[in-house]
Point group: C2
Chain length 338, copies 2
Amino acid sequence: MPRSQPRKRATIREVAQATGLSPAAVSYALRGMQVSEETIERVRQAAAELGYEADPIARALASGRTGMIGVLCGSLEDLWQQSLAVGLGRALRDKDRYALILDAAGDPARERALALQLRDQRVDGLIVQPVDPAAPFWAQLADGLPVVAIGDALLDARTAGEVVFDNRNGVTLALEYLRNKGHGRIAVLTPTRPSTPDRPADVHVTAEAERLKLDIEVTTAPHGLAATTAAARELLADDARPSAAFCFSDSIAYGVYAAAAELGLSIPEDISVMGYDDHPMSGLLTPGLTTVNWDIGGIVRAAVRLVVAAADGRNRRRRIIQEPELRERGSVADLGLG
Amino acid sequence: MPRSQPRKRATIREVAQATGLSPAAVSYALRGMQVSEETIERVRQAAAELGYEADPIARALASGRTGMIGVLCGSLEDLWQQSLAVGLGRALRDKDRYALILDAAGDPARERALALQLRDQRVDGLIVQPVDPAAPFWAQLADGLPVVAIGDALLDARTAGEVVFDNRNGVTLALEYLRNKGHGRIAVLTPTRPSTPDRPADVHVTAEAERLKLDIEVTTAPHGLAATTAAARELLADDARPSAAFCFSDSIAYGVYAAAAELGLSIPEDISVMGYDDHPMSGLLTPGLTTVNWDIGGIVRAAVRLVVAAADGRNRRRRIIQEPELRERGSVADLGLG
DNA sequence: TCGATTCACTGATACGTTTCAGTGAAACGC
DNA sequence: GCGTTTCACTGAAACGTATCAGTGAATCGA
């Protein structure tokens, strides 16, 4: 069935013809450069009449700028990261950019492949929440493309800006809270990660645990609620389980809630749970999930501001540190003075 | 700071030069058309050596195809729709397409503007979960661009395919269940909608309520958890409140849970709640949310298959009907025979 | 009054591919 | 052995814009 032909769009040449100007003049006029007010108005008029709209593809080819910003998420299985991606998409749209949102799914190899594809796709900038901030390709990528990192700073890469979480402080907040509630042996559930031994956040956990003389036991949890639940089930089924679980994202904590429900364990009586992120759903659970809150709105605004500035050639190259806040709800039992 | 120059990419001309062929031959060879196996191999080799990668912008300008599919969501405040968007993004990536995900935020005017922008952006196809399926511009848009609708069919538009929810059945499932549990007066919470009086799903609610002799009371809930909670608070604060609330999405039901918690009401003793969608979190609440489940994986697969086929010129123009399933959990009280 | 500057605009080229209309040679049918 | 196909490839023309290097006229300063 021959689709009724795509209805030829008007080109800049037709507008030029209609106004008696050269295509170059029209191009300038529509962008408000180098032409008289009167001409601008005349061109606008003609463009509107012809229904002319500059072709973004041709514009991109000629100018080298696509108006698209790549957003490479660590793992979109994670609900908090979903919120972040949605927020970034909206904020970028408000700045007349399109967000190309991709999901590394926690896999460093995939992250690398997608980042390079995004560059080949000619995005004007890249916002990334790195799975593997130590990967060497970041340096090469960031030199030639404005890259803004969220979460962890990119090691050795000259980024266009960074919105870094003070994970040291976040971890301290969480672990001190647990210790003050009398928890001495703690299970730490962290998302599956590349085997970079020095991943910043993980380092802080070990360091803080040592400082606070806590006995921690790190378990790696695959992505997705089902997988997380399975990992948590294994942990909780053990009668000699720790008294508390510190989950490195609220989504992981949800898996613990699910596993606890399955096993007939109650929170916080049988197991205390602490999250990290503060997703809107965390307040709705019973009991509410005590967690470490990051200001998602502030993160979005900062990242977008940085990447847009860099894409426009106004480079600021700033590092913005995000400070966490403890959200106390009811998922951690008070064991009395430990 | 002059960013080290963007490191000129190799062009097709350089590959042509290296192989002693014409650019045209290289173009054909890289797409495996009209050239000998031997030449293809030779070109591949040279391209790899030069690190050549076809420029998507130039390709799009010449061929008229961008490889991008627009995804226009009704409201990304809704968690289920977030899952849907994430799923669509992943499935499209698996088919070597980029998803341009946009959020109409429940606003028909915004929906219209974004849909047109997506067309101007030259996407190869559009997947839309329409806010206003009756809007007249769909017809004009769908004629010239493959459009696949999810949820409600686009009225009067020649779409490239449709994945339609059997809302009639879904509503029947929910309302019959409530009636069988003895609920006669029911609050219906539906997302803010354009004032199309004949929105399909809403029509079914009225019709089914009539058939089942239920007394319903429709409230419109703005988007977002906070707004939904506020709307629910108002509803629940009334001592003469209905015995059950039927929410037209799980996200709205979450607002009812939040409001109930605030007011010290317990579910389902003080108020029964029924959802619609089945988001993963619904099973984690206390009590679990009884809801109507739609197979999100099937929806994603169907929509992507349809839009990709249409974008490739293989038009099937199919309408796929999704059937719902009741997920009984604990949020509806059994009032005994009504 | 004259050279310099600014202003408003033009012509041509570049961007990097795809694709159409060939083209010469080889293969084929009879 | 001759006309016809097929094959593998070429040359050139799009695709629709941005931008560089002018150009003639008007304005300016002294």
